[in-house]
Symmetry: C2
């Protein structure tokens, strides 16, 4: 295992420490390291719906990288690839509460869903109105290791951006939850792994892939996908990812979409643009307009080489909310 | 070789095609693929000094990712790890010329320096006033594979940002060149490789590193550094990179610096923040103030795992220029 780390047990704590030091104008970490969360440096915004997300670490910049103006109010980084417990989620929920309620944005993994539910009940007992939206945009598989139903993957980034903008403009909790639900419902994703990744405290790769083998439909923790195939050209791989997305989302001529090509952490951006190029051409060939684009490492699997494609169906409101200013460590425009 | 590519010979062309499609609001590619360059979508800004950089591909987002408002006017991507020829550099220089002259920002590699010089002579013959600043911020080695003197590495990103801001505010060519020279003179960098990278058309790793071996002082093409050592903890590696930087730059108590931790392409951002954390603590222990920070993949070596540290000594003018709005595909703030 070759990593730029010290003690594998301290990876999350030390990384978050560096992260909040580098972005002290935007974020702070909780005082209590036993209930670790990251929240806006200025504290909760009074009267604004608070947005909280979280989950296992190892997917950076998700989620802490998206804490800031126009996106999340707090993020809870669990151990690597392991859900945070209810206590830090509750603490983050309280920190994010500005009196207008809190929305939990939860990727559909069994541990995350349970722990966010428990935290929501505890928050409710303390008088905080909490709603949750569970993301499940991965078309690769129904049910999987760690998950009943579809997994929540890169579409989560778009849910956080767009719902964050809705909260920032002053929408109430029901409306923000409805918009988050709408984004999730209009987003589909699928990924590919060229290599495995290694969880620091495990010390060896999470799974084995042959020298010339790739996994189509991989999960963000290396969970099995649809099938293993021999290494193929980027255009062919792109077709294998995009096909099920387009079919499931039923995008057709005249639709406007956001095309998001996400890197898994170890893939050069030049390769992501090669995937983007063909995905865009295929969408345009169907008469679909790629109205917005996002290309880069936004939800990763440590140092895994691979990528995912996400297509989000846009309408005027979602487009305007996507375009709204955002100022976070990992996503910034308009400010 | 596992990459998301099609024909290895088409990596640069297809990647640039995807890149300009994704960022069509900011950049365009040249019409002639034999003289490939990327420039601002709106064309040269009349009366503004034009900034042109370039070099071998494989270091993305450098340089094309930095074309846009407040940074470069044009970038010339050569073949992977191979300097572009004078013809596309000349074509980019002409495209960037708004009548106030053009600054070439050239990383100190023999091929780049020669080809930019030739292009500058050709541009001069066509009546364009060209000056060049050669970056050489890498403290690791004097003379190296491909280079006489020190290599130009991550400090180049800061030269492009700060000189770009100077050009944008209307400084003349001599002033922009002076500021670029000042940034280069105040920046020092050093990198480490945990793994090698594979040039697509070569098909095998550029060099070999043992299972538990890392290379301290690596160049961005995998050129040899200072020495190979057994894999060590992140703090220890950070000390090995930061020590020569601090010594060479002679930063002392009371100095204000920008601390830039750059990923080589295959390293998770969590690891970069672990390096940042310790580097910052070490600087602060010396009484140095880390006034600005940049952490991420900005000048890479394909999928190489590793990182570099750059320290730039700041003054009020350089800080203000660094803070000035920038809107490029890879770096954006204030707009």
């Amino acid at each position: 295992m070759k990593k730029l780390i010290n003690d594998p047990q301290n990876v999350v704590a030390e990384s978050v420490e560096g992260f909040v030091a580098a972005h002290a104008d935007l974020v702070i970490a909780s005082d209590n390291p036993e209930e670790l969360f990251v929240s806006r440096a200025g504290g909760a915004v009074q009267g604004k719906v608070g947005l909280v997300s979280g989950g296992g670490s190892g997917h950076e910049p998700l989620h802490a990288g998206f804490v800031g103006v126009g996106m999340l109010d707090a993020a809870v980084p669990g151990p690597v690839f392991t859900s945070p417990t209810p206590d830090p989620i509750l603490a983050a929920t309280k920190a994010a509460d500005g009196g207008a309620g809190v929305l939990h944005i939860v990727k559909n993994y069994t541990g995350d869903v349970l722990n966010f539910e428990t935290a929501a009940e505890l928050a409710d007992a303390e008088g905080i109105n909490v709603r949750a939206v569970v993301t499940d945009d991965d078309v690769a598989v129904q049910d999987s290791l760690y998950t009943a139903g579809r997994r929540g993957v890169a579409g989560t980034v778009l849910v956080e951006k767009i719902a964050g903008a809705a909260a920032e403009r002053g929408d109430d909790l029901d409306t923000v939850a409805e918009i988050a639900t709408r984004v999730n419902a209009g987003a589909r994703s699928m990924g590919v792994a060229l290599t495995a990744c290694t969880v620091p405290h495990a010390g060896k790769p999470s799974f084995d892939l042959g020298e010339d083998e790739i996994e189509i439909g991989i999960g963000i923790h290396g969970e099995p996908g649809r099938r293993r195939i021999p290494l193929a050209g980027a255009d062919e791989i792109t077709d294998l990812l995009l096909g099920p997305i387009v079919e499931d989302l039923a995008v057709t001529s005249g639709d406007q979409v956001l095309l998001f090509v996400n890197g898994m952490g170890g893939t050069p951006s030049s390769e992501l643009y090669i995937v983007y190029r063909h995905a865009r051409a295929q969408l345009e060939a169907k008469g679909v307009t790629v109205a917005r684009s996002l290309v880069g490492n936004y939800i990763t699997s440590l140092e895994m080489q691979g990528a995912s494609i996400t297509v989000l169906r846009l309408d005027d409101e979602l487009t305007a909310l996507y375009d709204a200013p955002v100022h976070t460590p990992a996503l910034r425009w308009g400010v």
